[in-house]
């Protein structure tokens, strides 16, 4: 009985494993789980991305011409180019 249950479970697992998205998920899941050096690198990467996208981008780097139409941007830049004469 136990053996049969095990066989059914293994068959279900195999069927799942054959589905491409599940296999891709498994691939990444196992890959990340088995990382050693990679964990340190991911930590550095995530801290760096947080500093770049949250701290620097939001606090210090608003786009000067963001949210303006092409014509409005042209208007602003044209007056800047003329101002520098």
């Amino acid at each position: 009985m136990i053996e049969r249950r095990y066989t059914v479970h293994a068959a279900m697992k195999n069927r799942k494993e054959r589905i491409l998205p599940c296999r891709i998920f498994r691939f990444y899941y196992d890959g990340f789980r088995e990382m050693t050096l990679g964990k340190t690198l991911w930590a550095i990467l995530l801290i760096k991305l947080f500093v770049i996208f949250v701290i620097l981008r939001l606090l210090f780097f608003p786009d000067a011409l963001a949210g303006k139409s092409e014509e409005e941007r042209g208007e602003i830049v044209r007056s800047e180019l003329i101002k520098h004469r």
Binding site: D30, L37, G38, I52, S79
Partner: protein, 523 residues
């Protein structure tokens, strides 16, 4: 306000230079080491020898450290375009947008998708699939570089575009002209081949350390054999593409060439200065008083620039003051024509505000290449648009000592590395490298030298473009945004801290991994 603007532009320049220099500490190793890893894995695929698998895995670990720490550092440059260089960002229009978008969509995704297979897939996918993933990661990394370099080349040599006066943007008219411009092709080949050389020197240097310590000798010797041959081939390719660069610069950026050579007076059969010590700026007015001393190769500059030993090479004074006999316009005349182009832009701006459609149409025709008056105006005036912002003809001269010395550092170090690769390959092949302990030390010390050469190359390329953000069309001080200098100065130091921390992390982790060495080694 004007002073604050100038300070802001100067801080923005410093910030951009800092970001680009730090970013470029990570990139060349990624470009070259990815290919070397793929070559090592190809050896494993061909021979089935597990030694090559372990060797490839070890270098891939160092590649991963460099990739993880360096990735996304270039994004800060894109933030700076929007904030510090908004006039420039608008002016370049879709010329920058298209290559950068392709870089983001195609190359980066290609690289990051197969990067995972490269690291997680060793026992999970077939050997052939894994090898393909490693090669695709290497190709993706190098394709990323292609698109960035295409965008950069357009700044040096703006082609394949038309200027839209309504939006003040340069619209791309020919993607192929932008992609296949001689500057773009040559910049890509020179940058990539020199990056391959840098990675080869890195592999040789790390392997030399193992030989000095008497550890992992087989891996070290095999890595040196591959890297020295790879480095030798690509140092020759870098020398060839560098020579081509000189010839292209002579045609499209003659002032850059004259400044690189500190050539003040143009002449036929111009010599190439091998080395020299420049006099202070105020003392340099002509070739007679430019140097304390110099060592020259006769006729070589003419030969390298125009493939003709007797060809005329214009000097800084010719380009500033003009030389009628040689058909070189004086900078003062270019400034006058540039001002005329700016005046037309101002007329159009006023006409738009007042709704004067007759004047608008008149100016629009001037900026339209398809009208007879437009063709003449664009060729004679708009081509010198940026000169209209210069205050003095001498403002068109870049920093001569910086270019002169940086160029010689690049070429000197490149030549030395070429000889080093050849000597190391030969000695290693004859199994005599282990005994040359001084040479092993030189190989380790050559790692920073390769980085220095790489940075010096970019200094020549970018400082030589000054005062232009876009060659002849937009000077740097006009390209900047009207923002206060304080936030730019604050972020400069933030970047300095961030990048220094990243670099320290990279060096620390790399050194630790090198000390650990390759895994599962039975040597």
């Amino acid at each position: 306000m004007v002073t604050d603007l100038m300070q802001s532009v100067e801080w923005s320049r410093a910030q951009f230079a800092l970001t680009a220099i730090y970013h470029w500490l990570f990139v060349p190793l990624t470009l070259g080491l990815s290919v070397l890893c793929a070559l090592m894995e190809t050896q494993y695929y061909r021979t089935g020898d597990l030694f090559w698998k372990r060797t490839a895995q070890f270098w891939m670990r160092l590649f991963a450290v460099n990739f993880a720490i360096g990735v996304a550092t270039g994004l800060i440059l894109e933030f700076e375009f929007g904030t510090n260089w908004s006039n420039y960002s608008n002016f370049v229009g879709d010329i920058f947008g298209a290559p950068l978008a392709i870089e983001g969509i195609m190359a980066f995704f290609l690289e990051s998708t197969f990067f995972a297979v490269m690291f997680f897939g060793w026992e999970k996918v077939s050997r052939g699939f894994h090898l393909s993933a490693t090669w695709l990661t290497a190709i993706g990394a190098n394709l990323s570089a292609l698109w960035i370099l295409v965008a950069n080349s357009w700044m040096q040599y703006p082609v394949g575009c038309r200027f839209d006066i309504a939006t003040v943007r340069n619209e791309m008219t020919s993607f192929w002209d932008v992609l296949l411009s001689p500057v773009a092709i040559n910049k890509f080949s020179h940058t990539v081949t020199s990056s391959f050389l840098l990675a080869a020197v890195f592999v040789m240097g790390v392997s030399a350390w193992y030989l000095l310590k008497g550890r992992h000798r087989r891996m070290a010797r095999s890595s040196i054999a591959l890297a020295s041959a790879f480095g030798f081939v690509f140092s020759l390719a870098a020398a060839f593409s560098g020579d081509r660069s000189g010839a292209i610069v002579a045609r499209v950026q003659p002032m850059k060439l004259a400044a690189m050579e500190a050539l003040y007076d143009g002449r036929e059969a111009a010599p190439l200065t091998l080395f020299g010590i420049l006099r202070p700026e105020e003392a340099r007015t002509s070739d007679d008083d430019a140097f304390h001393f110099k060592v020259e190769i006769p006729k070589m500059l003419s030969l390298m620039s125009f493939r003709d030993a007797g060809a005329y090479v214009p000097g800084i004074n010719d380009l500033v003051e003009g030389n009628e006999a040689r058909g070189i316009l004086p900078t003062a005349l270019k400034m006058e024509r540039g001002r005329h182009a700016i005046e037309q832009l101002a007329r159009y701006h006023t006409a738009r505000k007042t709704g004067d459609t007759a004047v608008m149409q008149e100016v629009e025709r001037l900026f339209d290449r398809d009208t007879p008056e437009g063709e003449a105006f664009l060729r004679d005036c708009f081509a010198y648009f940026g000169y209209g912002y210069l205050e003095s003809p001498r403002d068109a001269v870049p920093n001569v000592p910086l270019l002169f010395y940086a160029f010689r550092v690049m070429v000197g170090a490149g030549g030395f590395l070429l000889l080093l690769c050849a000597a190391v390959w030969w000695l290693n092949r004859r199994q005599r490298l282990d005994k040359q302990r001084w040479l092993l030390r030189v190989m380790i010390l050559s790692i920073p030298l390769a980085y220095l050469a790489s940075q010096a190359g970019w200094i020549v390329a970018e400082a030589g473009r000054q005062p232009w953000a876009i060659q002849d069309l937009l000077p740097v001080h006009v390209a900047g945004s009207y923002i206060g200098s304080t936030p730019v100065a604050v972020t400069f130091f933030l970047f300095l801290a961030l990048f220094t921390a990243l670099l320290a992390a990279e060096i620390g982790i790399l050194c630790r991994q090198i000390k650990i060495g390759p895994k599962e080694s039975n040597e």
